[in-house]
Amino acid sequence: MSWEPVIGLEVHVHLKTRTKMFCRCAVGFGAEPNTRTCPVCLAFPGALPVVNRTAVEWTIKLGLALGCEIAEHSVFSRKNYFYFDSPKGYQISQYDLPFCISGKVLLPTAKGDRVIGIVRAHLEEDAAKTVHVGGRTGRIRGADHSLVDFNRGGTPLVEIVTAPDIRSADEAKRFLQLLRQTIVELGISDAEMEKGTLRVDANVSVRPAGSQELRTRTELKNMNSFTFVARGIDAEIARQIAVWESGEEVRQETYDFEAATGALTPHRAKEEADDYRYFPEPDLVPVEPPGELVERLRSELPELPSARIRRLEAELDLDRATVLVTGGLDRLWQETVSSGAEKVAAANVIANNLVGAGLDPAAVPAKELARLVDGRERIPRTAFDEAISKLADPGFSADPYLAQEAVSDEAELEPIVMRVLEASPGQVEAFRSGKEGLLGFFVGQVMKETQGKANPRVVSELVRTKLGS
């Protein structure tokens, strides 16, 4: 029996407004506990919420970027529940009349665009932070007491809910990368999972391949990188398939995915399912986004990542285009190519070296990068690496690095290659019996011997020649 995963994602985006959602306490990291609070976010008796206008505008902007309809009449609602981090005993969120509904994200794939439906995006406030003292690794289980810091409480959050249109863990990861890049380009959030400004919960179920039924789904929480989201989803898919195939039924539960062990542990047991008793927030009046506002926000949208991937695909290929766009580096690539670099080479250099390096692409001089791309095989590896690391430094010039020459003289390199091969008989054996990947190992050893000055391409050819392949 073959199974098809059915995956939906709930993504919480921390808006980087200056103040909280319903009060004007400053938002930010690192403040001493309970120093960014006021009667409103502390829920003192009589305190009342006031909407942050920028948070509303950014939510609408995000909804437009996700292809959503913007509600003409939108209402905040109270979600009632008791917990340490919820001082009012309710969270102000949205229920039946959210700001954004019925959108879609086009995820470019080799077989065309996959349409991932966006059911809704709404605006709400974040909970406070609780530290559990005395238990294992700060978890509630076994804790002696808890300490609450209300600084984070009240930060604006946009919750995006996708339709269950995602069909694999890998697809979820690619969707999240695209979504994240979109959010970052709108300037509304840093959207970093590691810092908690982007949080992802996954709803996972499986069904017999080809059927349309929707079976019981479970919820996965507490995954703090896209990779872990994918791993968690994969683990849960496997678990659910095993359950169904053993004749049992999947139960509706919430799991935490423990990245270190790959284990799925059931979330804190709730005595009974929460009845949130949603009702319209009486302390706030409805929002009816004026038409001119929506149109202005729409006109301010940049060309979105999905569209740019498709455009770049024509000049490169889907994978390279995706990596460049979701890494926020496609514009740099265009400028580097315009400055004379070869397309694929420039894409490889940028993709392999700049993605995730934390450089600000806007600070990189494209002309210099283009020269580096052109000369990269001529110069020593170490020189190239150093140049890359300093690309964003003010006034960067490729000159000093291009002046260095990598050793390409075969006559000079051959003895070193021989030495390395003789010193590694086991690896040579393995290589000869099919482990082609070891080529990298040999090249690496030669690079080490030459302090990075050898030309890796020449070395690589020499090794192949010597090993007779």
């Binding site: 400053a26 506990p33 120093t35 006021c38 006031v50 948070a55 340490f84 289980r141 804790a143 409805p286």
Partner: protein, 95 residues
């Protein structure tokens, strides 16, 4: 009967009120009578009637995203029953 003892218990749990059996008994009787009187709202034909959430017809009331001073921490904790190192201290969640 408009509300049963079990429903009163359920509602008390949702509202985090620890009621004694005597209180449950007493409140069940009172709430039952009250709900009976309230129940007459079922008599009206409300087809097509919009709900009123706000008596005043206001929309789009909001503030610019400009920070204001937060409370000094001594004020924040001034009425706290128990505090520790600048944080509110509470017993932990029962598993």
């Amino acid at each position: 009967m408009a509300i049963s003892r079990e429903e009163v218990q359920h509602v008390a749990r949702l509202a985090w009120l620890a009621l004694s059996p005597e209180e449950i008994e007493r409140f069940a009787g009172e709430l039952d009578k009250i709900l009976d009187a309230i129940g007459i709202v079922a008599e009206l034909d409300l087809d097509g009637v919009q709900p009123t959430s706000h008596p005043l017809d206001l929309v789009n009331v909001w503030d610019d995203d400009v920070p204001r001073d937060s409370l000094p921490r001594e004020d924040v904790l001034a009425n706290a029953p128990l505090a520790d190192g600048g944080l509110f201290k509470v017993p932990t969640w029962r598993q």
